[in-house]
């Protein structure tokens, strides 16, 4: 079980890189004022959409992360 949990966390960590790819990597391809999206200039609209996507991705990561199951933060072993 330990190894399975470890690999799932690694997969979730990988998913967390998507916002970086989208937001930082995508901007060169949308760097023009028009078309306006929801009234916003294209780069601003792109970043805004990625903020929302990031929240969705990280909410999924939170839900699937084994670290968020069970009791919160067992007390430390050390005195």
């Amino acid at each position: 079980m330990v190894s399975l949990r470890f690999s799932r966390r690694k997969l979730l960590l990988l998913c967390s890189t998507l916002p970086f790819i989208g937001m930082v990597g995508g901007v060169p391809f949308v760097n023009r004022v028009t078309p306006f999206v929801f009234g916003l200039p294209l780069p601003l609209a792109w970043i805004t959409i990625w903020v929302l996507l990031t929240v969705a991705i990280m909410a999924g990561v939170y839900a699937l992360d084994p670290a968020n199951r069970g009791g919160d933060d067992p007390p430390d072993q050390r005195p």
């Binding site: 960590l13 967390s16 916002p19 970086f20 937001m23 930082v24 901007v27 060169p28 760097n31 023009r32 004022v33 028009t34 306006f36 929801f38 009234g39 916003l40 200039p41 294209l42 780069p43 601003l44 970043i47 805004t48 990625w50 903020v51 929302l52 990031t54 929240v55 990280m58 909410a59 990561v61 939170y62 992360d65 670290a67 968020n68 919160d72 933060d73 430390d76 050390r78």
Partner: protein, 489 residues
Amino acid sequence: MSVALLIILVAAAGALLLGLAARRGHDMDLEQWSVGGRSFGTLFVFLLLAGEIYTIFSFLGASGFIYGKGAGAYYILAYLTLNQVIGYWLLPLVWRTARREHLVSQPQFFVRQYGSKPLGILVAVVGVAAMIPYLVLQFTGLGIIVSIASYGAISRPQAVWMGAAIVTTYVMISGMRGAAWNAVIKDILILTIVVFLGLYLPLHYYGGIGAMFQAIDHAKPGFLAFPARGNSVAWFQSTVLLNAMGGFMYPHVFSSIFTARGSRILRRNTVVMPLYSLMLLFVFFAGFAAIQQVPGLTGAAIDLALIKLCTQTFAPWLVGIVGATGLLTALVPGAVLLTAAATMLANDLYRAGIRPAATNAAVTRLAKALVPAVAMVAVFFTLRGGATIVALLLMGYNLVTQFFPAVAFSFARRNPVTSRGAFCGILAGTVCVVAITLTNITLFDLLPFLPVALRDVNVGLAALILNLGVTAIVSAAASLTPATVETQN
């Protein structure tokens, strides 16, 4: 006395009283004073960490940056979001170490993780040096907003002195608790004001947000996208990455992590926080609205854009509320910064470097006594003036980002970085940032053979790469010579 002035003074008195009342029922020992006794739940932790999003920087700095530079300011929204993604993975690790070792400050974290006292002292010195411009930034914004919103009844230096006196008083008495209580009021106020300004100003002057952007695009073609030079795409990308790494490395943000009651609170916070930072869109809208309504501001004066537009648009009572909000928006981060800086000076420089035998009580007394001293230094630099709010923030960020590699590597199962490697790397990176800032050099000046596309890359990246290189070389050298192998955590 005008209505606006009255509202600002009432808010100032209210902030002071609330900050003082926060002490009730708590014995202010070092742990209680500096990290709220590690007892804060979701709301307080959220507001303390969110305090980073809504400092006076986002209010005046972001709108001023939009006004002066246009698209470049979008970086703020992107880095705040990506910073939280890094935080999801990093904060619980930091928090767990802090609880296990009863840490109250960031330098202690380095001392425990690397078993090296000199490293802790270096981190304390660099951390305090990076917090001063951040504090100056809060006081600068406070001076601007209070003097303009009071229609000149309170001069800028008077406003700075008043703010410094209030924040110093309640920090000495209540520490982090004073900041947390004021943060609740401040965030409710600023959210309301920001959304209102961001919707009303474009509607009032242009007939809507979409219409406003079309008007700006017509008047200044290309202003709404990243330019080819200056705040270009390469600048955006490098700055976003650097600040996303550096965000939690500010000593006061780092120790805000310690105030949490549990690690899940931190993860939940990082998931939701980007939604909260989305409110910056409204600050952007207000900044854009100012472009054609208060034209002609240049240099450091771009920070005045939003508040000037307010006085030109609204009745005095509303301007007073905006001014009062600005005051609180500067006081809360100011309190957190003062608490962290004073704790570091007393605990991590005085006790760690000069007098190891000092008791907790003596260190706490010294930390409280240092609060006015730190505030005075910040007031001094504020009144000297000069730089824009964003320029100050970017320099501070470049300094603290130097901590990121050593923090991240310290959680590796087998940390390849030695304490000497971390020490030399941080030192090299810091010297590089200071040299760059003092000489105003760009990456292109350093490396003229770079292709055009890379010329505007944030110079902080050069410092970070130098830091990583030195860290790697020194760490490798230390592990090659068995005699110098150090005992690691």
